[in-house]
């Protein structure tokens, strides 16, 4: 397809959605809704295609004696289990008890175990950070240590002072940094969105 056609389609679609954001008009709303429905169709098709590609990738890896046959087998068996549980005759789909059990008894604990590793990986990351850039990591570690001290479960007057200080740190310095980052991100998102809307890339330079 000619590049100008793609550019025109992106520009018209973007302007239509932008106009629908600004103006309440039934016809405009229907046109933007139709675009959204097309997007949903695209996503559904891409999801099915992505899943099929994933299966094909691991089947190929098994057939060619790839590096991790056990991983491929586990993935394929897991996918098959969920698909069979959700699509077997009489199943109620994603709310089927078997699917819910698979999620609650297998997926959720696995994910929780994975996230439990975060503490260890944080320590490793800090060590790596000290090796790569001492100054920034030292500031970060000092700030983290200060927050830990402020959040210590201590009672009495000292505890109240620590709690109040922790609240102030969260609301003022941390809140200020977060707002600054988010304002910057918001501005850059607007710039990048305009760039995407106008389909500007290096080919245009």
């Amino acid at each position: 397809m000619r590049r100008s056609l793609v550019t025109a389609a992106a520009l018209v679609s973007g302007l239509l959605v932008l106009l629908d954001l600004l103006v309440v008009n039934p016809s405009l709303g229907e046109a933007a809704g139709a675009l959204n429905e097309l997007l949903v169709l695209l996503v559904a098709a891409a999801a099915v295609g992505g899943g099929a590609t994933l299966v094909a990738h691991h089947l190929r890896a098994l057939a060619s004696g790839g590096d991790d046959p056990i991983g491929s087998i586990v993935l394929l068996v897991g996918m098959a289990a969920i698909v069979v549980a959700g699509l077997r005759p009489g199943s109620s789909g994603s709310s089927d008890p078997v699917v819910l059990w698979l999620v609650a008894a297998l997926l959720a604990p696995l994910a929780a175990s994975l996230f439990a590793l975060l503490f260890l990986f944080l320590l490793r990351a800090v060590r790596r950070g000290f090796a790569l850039r001492f100054r920034e990591t030292a500031v970060m570690a000092a700030a983290a240590a200060m927050v830990i001290v402020l959040l210590l479960p201590i009672g009495g007057q000292a505890g109240e002072w620590l709690t109040a200080t922790a609240g102030w740190v969260r609301a003022v310095p941390l809140g200020g940094v977060f707002r600054g980052l988010l304002i910057g991100v918001g501005v850059m998102v607007a710039i990048s969105a305009a760039r995407s809307l106008l389909t500007l890339d290096r080919d245009d330079e």
Partner: protein, 280 residues
């Protein structure tokens, strides 16, 4: 038989009816504000007024050398587009980071194509995988290296943030160059550690404010907050991309100015500027 005059009359009537049946969704001031921002953007995009000297955000200039070293040592390169995807159930800002990281992917892909280094891209969103495939194809087209396109692969690893982190940890190995760019959440540190691991050179970037520490600690080069989106303009040599960065800087200063003036006005007992701008 209708003549040209009747056709024009019908067209004007249809347009008039469409305008008459419409109303402002956000009110006058916010609508004018949005259009004004767009106007400023368009004017700056079309006609850059000053020269922009870009900083080396995330030390991206070292990617070419890292790729050359990878080619010499026979190592490969890998890129992860974060865990937010494009159409996943994540916040709009997180998902936009995936789009913002595509120019960086294109930059890495061009360097890999020139050096003949195999590049693998992983994502947990099928639509992002489609975008990544198009980006890699574009890089091989621009560098006139179609014979090396088969060495560049995009892999959809399945749905889920935890899955992305688990896949990264399970498949961790040494790379010549590794990059993670895009939206991250709690799993960010696991993903970064798995993908970047023992890479000879690594770049990590996210605009997710809560995950800023991960790229700082794990990547040799870091893109934090707006830098991830700004870097897309930095990697281009000249022209409109620099104008985008210039426009961003001007808008940032404008926002800071509005915030300061608005705060002073509110402090002095004047009208609430924020309420006016937000249309409340």
């Amino acid at each position: 038989m209708p003549n040209l005059g009747e056709l024009m009359a019908n067209l004007i009537s249809a347009l008039t009816n469409a305008v008459g049946s419409s109303s402002m969704r956000l009110g006058a001031a916010p609508t004018v504000g949005i259009l004004l921002v767009l106007l400023v953007l368009l004017s700056l995009l079309a006609r850059p007024l000053a020269r922009w000297s870009a900083a080396d955000l995330g030390q991206l200039t070292r990617i070419g050398r890292a790729m050359a070293l990878s080619a010499e040592s026979g190592a490969d390169a890998t890129v992860s587009l974060g865990t937010a995807g494009v159409v996943r159930a994540a916040s709009a800002t997180d998902r936009f980071q995936t789009l913002g990281s595509l120019p960086l992917l294109g930059h890495v892909a061009e360097a890999a194509a020139r050096a003949g280094v195999p590049l693998s891209v992983t994502t947990n969103d099928p639509v992002a995988a489609l975008f990544a495939e198009a980006t890699l194809a574009g890089a091989h087209r621009r560098t006139a290296t179609p014979e090396r396109a088969s060495a560049s692969t995009v892999e959809y690893i399945g749905e889920g943030r935890a899955l992305a982190a688990a896949a990264a940890l399970a498949g961790a190995r040494s790379h010549g160059l590794a990059m993670v760019a895009g939206g991250l959440a709690e799993e960010g540190l696991l993903l970064l550690d798995g993908v970047l691991g023992d890479a000879e050179w690594s770049v990590a970037g996210t605009a997710s404010a809560g995950q800023a520490a991960g790229p700082l600690l794990n990547g040799d080069g870091s893109l934090i907050g707006p830098e991830l989106l700004q870097a897309g303009g930095e990697v281009s040599a000249s022209g409109s991309a620099r104008a985008v960065v210039l426009a961003a800087n001007r808008l940032i200063w404008t926002v800071i100015g509005v915030l300061l003036i608005g705060s002073l006005v509110a402090w002095a007992g004047g009208p609430q500027v924020a309420a006016f701008l937000a249309g409340r």
